[in-house]
Amino acid sequence: MKKISIITMLAISVVAGSCRKDSSFLDVPPKQVLPTDLAFSDPALVLSILGDLYDRQRDFSSLDGYPSREYPQSPNGDREPGWRTFADFSEAFPSENGSSFLVQRTGWGYGEWAIWDYGYIRDLNLFIQRATAATKLTEGDKARFIAEARFLRANYYFEMVKRMGGVPLITDPLAYDYSGNVTPLQRPRAKESEVYDFIISEAEAIKSILPADVNQKSRATKAAALAMEARAALYAGSIAKYGATTPQVSLPGNEVGIPSTQANAYYTKALSASQEIINGSAGSYQLYKVLPDLSDNFAAIFLDKSSVNQEAIFVEDFKANGGKVHGFTTNDQPFSMSDEGLDAGRLNPSLNLVEAFEKLDNTYAPIATKDAGGNPVYYTNQLDAFAGRDARLAGTVLLPNGLFKGKRTEVFAGYQLGDGTVISSGDATITQDVPGLGKNIQVVGKDGPVNGLEFRTQTGFYIRKYLDPTVGSGRRGRGSDVNFIRYRYAEVLLNAAEAAFELGQTGTALGYINQVRSRAGLTTPLAALTFDRIVHERRVELAFEGHTLYDMKRWRLATRVWDGAQMSVADLVSNIGSATKHNTQPFGLWPYKYFNPGNPNSGKWIFKEVKPSAVTGANRFQIGNYYSQIGDDILSANPKIVKQPNQ
C-alpha cells in the first residue's frame, strides 16, 4: 500500500513537471553567453568588451610580443617573443642562437611585416554599431565608448597603411546574406592618401569627445587622438614629398604613393595637431624632468607609472600579479644579475647605435679606441670611453660597467699583454694563466662578450630602456609590468619640429627640437637645422620604440641605409650623423684589460670594434619591401584588390 502511494506520487510529479508550455521549456536564455542587449546595458560590461579590443592593438615593437595573427601566419603558429621585435635593423644584436637569422639573412621577404586583420576591424565596427544602438547607457558613456572604438579602428588602419599602403576602408560590419553572391562584400583598396585622410578626420571627430586627462594613459584621450593625427599626417606628408624620389613605388590608382602636391597640406595638419598638444589644450603634458641625473631621468620615462610622468600620452599598460605582464626584463637583464639563471641578455644594442649619440658640443664622433698615431687609447674606467655624450646614451644602453639594480655589469673580452698577445676564453668560468699575474685567472667578464656565447652581451652593451629594476621583475613567474609607450610628448615635439622644418618654419622647428635636446643634456641649442639632424634626433630619442622601419620607409631612405653592402670598421666610424649612412650589420665594442707590469697604462682598459662572428648577412632592403606583399589567398578571394607595385 505504502509502495503504491509512493509510485503514484512519483508518477504525478513527473507528469506535472512536464506540463509546461513549449515556449518556456525551449526558450532558455543561455547562461554562458551574454546577449548583445544585455552586454551593452552596463558600462562595466561594455568596458570589458572594449578591454579586449584594446588588447588586440598592433605595434611594430611590443614588450610582450604578439601571436602570429598577421598574414602570412608563422608556419609553427608560434608567438613572436617581445624582445625580438626590437632586435632588427642592425640597431641591436640578438644574443640567442635561435634568433641568429636576424643577422644572417641578407634581406627581408616581400611578405615581411604584412598584416591584414579584418576580423579585428569587423569586431570594432560591430562594437560601434551595437554601442550606437544601446539604449540603457548614459549619453556620456556611450559617446566615449564609441569614440574609443573609433580611435582603435583609426589606429589599426594607421598600422595597416604603414605596412601595406592603401587598404579597403571598411567602416560598417559587413554581413553576408547567404545568397551565394559575395560581390557586395568585395571592396577595392582605397588610395593611400584616403586612408591617411580617414585617420586624420576620425581623430578630428573624436578628439573633443575623449577626455583631456593627462593621467589617463591606457585608454584613448584627446591627446592620444591628436598624437595619432600628428604622426599620421607627418607620415603622409613625407611619403608625398620623398615618394617622388622612388617613382617605382607607386600604383596608377594611387593605392600606393601620394602625389607630391599634397605634402604641404599634410605637414600643416601635422604641425597644427602637434601644437594643439603642445599648447596644453589636451592636458598639461610636458617632458619628464624629475631626476637630477639626466640618464637616469631618461630611463625613468619608461619606468615611472605615477602621475609625475606627464610625458607618456598613450601606453600599453601591464600589471604585475594582475595577469598582464611581459618577459622583456627576464629576456634582456644582464647575465650576472639575472633573476632566472640562464635567462638573460638577449637584446644587445649595437655599436652603430651607440656611436650615433653625439658629444655634448653637438658634434659627432666615434668612441675613441685609437689615437691619431694608431695606438690604443687607455681608459681608467670603462665608462670614461662614453663620457661627455648625450645623456640618452646611458639612458638607452646599459654600458660596460654600467649600474643596474645596484650592481655593475662585468664586461670584458680578455687580457691584452704588452706584446699584443690576447688571453681569452670561452666563458667566465674557464680560467687561464696570465703570465705575471698568476694561474687560473678569470679572463672574460661574467656578462660577456664571447662570440657565440648566448644570453651574455656579444656587442659589449645591454639594453636599458624598459629594463625593470623592480625586485623579482626578472623572474619568469612574476614578469615585469613596465609600460610600452606608444605615444609620448617628446615624439610630439619631434613631429612638430619636422613638420615645421618641412614647411620652412625653421625657427619654430628649432624651438621644439632644442627642448628635446636640452632635456638630454645637450644644452647648447642648435642654431641651424638640416634634414639629417631630424633623422638623427628621431633615431637617438626614439631608439627601440618601433619607429625605425616606418621612419626609414617614409623618408625613402631604407633602400639607401640598408643597401646590402657588407660593412667594415672604417665604414662604421665614418659619416656618423649622415642620414644615408649605411647600417647593414651590427658591430660591438669589446673592452680588454691591458696588463703590462711597469707600463703606466697597465690595468687600464682598451676597446676594439668587433663584428660578432654570427653576423654574416647584411641588411638589404629592396624596392619591393616598401609595401608588404598582399597574400595570394586575399587576392584570389577578392579580385578587386590590386597588387603591390613589385608584386
Binding site: 617605382q248 653592402a565 657588407q566 648577412g617 638589404r620 587576392l635 613589385n646 608584386q647
Partner: protein, 233 residues
C-alpha cells in the same frame, strides 16, 4: 598465440583493400628555358627575378611562382594544360611588354609533355666579350658594354661592379667577399672597360674564386650580369 592461416588471409585482404590509386599523379611535364636577347643569355642574380605562371579556369587565381637562376635559366614542373607566363612589374633588368592599360603582357604557354621555352626580353644593356683573369691576388675583368634600349625608355648606367666570391653564387646579395665598382658617370668609353679587385684572405684557403661583372641600371633594382667564371689567382 599461434598464427592461423585465416589470419594471414584476413591481413592480406585488408592490405589489398588499401591499395587504391592516389587521386592525382604529381606534375611531370617539365617546362624549362632561359632568358635570352637575340640568342644571348641574360644573366641575373640568383633567386631575385621572379616569374609567374597562371593557369586560368580552376577557381582561385594564385600564380605558380618561380625565380630565375644566375644564368637566366628556369625550370618548373607542371601539369599539362594552358598557362600564361609573365614577369611581375619592376622586376628584372629588362623591359617586359606592357599593355595599353598598364598591365603586364602575358605569354600563352601550352604544356603537353616536357618542353623548352626561351623567354625573349629586351635588356637595358648587355655585357659582351667579358674576359676575367686572375694573377697575384688581383682579379681583373675587361668587357664591352652595349646599350640596347636607346629610345625614350633608355636608362643610364648607375654603376658597374666586379664581384668575387668563394662560392659560385656571385652577387651583392650573396655575401660576396669583395667587390669594386665604377660609377656610371665615370665610364667614358663603352668598350674595353676594365675593373680589378683585390682578393682578401680566405679561410680556409682556396686558390680560386668565382667572379662576374654586374651592371646596375639607374632606377632598376635588379642587375644584369656577365656569366660566372672560376678564376685562379
Amino acid at each position: 598465440m599461434k598464427i592461423k592461416f585465416h589470419h594471414i588471409i584476413l591481413g592480406l585482404l585488408l592490405a589489398t583493400m588499401g591499395c587504391k590509386k592516389d587521386n592525382y599523379d604529381a606534375p611531370s611535364s617539365k617546362l624549362t628555358g632561359r632568358l635570352t636577347y637575340k640568342g644571348a643569355a641574360i644573366n641575373v642574380e640568383y633567386n631575385q627575378v621572379p616569374f609567374e605562371l597562371y593557369q586560368p579556369g580552376f577557381g582561385k587565381t594564385g600564380a605558380i611562382k618561380g625565380t630565375f637562376q644566375q644564368d637566366g635559366s628556369y625550370s618548373t614542373l607542371l601539369f599539362n594544360g594552358n598557362y600564361k607566363f609573365t614577369i611581375p612589374p619592376n622586376q628584372g633588368p629588362f623591359m617586359w611588354k606592357e599593355l595599353a592599360s598598364g598591365k603586364r603582357d602575358t605569354l600563352a604557354v601550352t604544356v603537353s609533355g616536357s618542353q623548352t621555352l626561351d623567354i625573349e626580353v629586351t635588356p637595358y644593356y648587355l655585357i659582351n666579350n667579358t674576359k676575367i683573369t686572375g694573377a697575384s691576388k688581383v682579379v681583373t675583368a675587361v668587357f664591352d658594354l652595349q646599350k640596347v634600349i636607346t629610345d625614350a625608355n633608355a636608362k643610364n648606367i648607375e654603376a658597374v661592379v666586379l664581384y668575387i666570391n668563394k662560392t659560385q653564387f656571385v652577387s651583392a646579395g650573396d655575401n660576396q667577399i669583395a667587390s669594386t665598382n665604377i660609377a656610371g658617370s665615370a665610364i667614358t668609353n663603352m668598350n674595353n672597360v676594365s675593373i680589378s679587385v683585390n682578393v682578401p684572405t680566405i679561410t680556409p684557403t682556396q686558390n680560386y674564386v668565382f667572379a662576374r661583372v654586374g651592371l646596375k641600371v639607374a632606377d632598376v633594382e635588379d642587375m644584369i650580369f656577365s656569366p660566372v667564371v672560376k678564376v685562379n689567382y
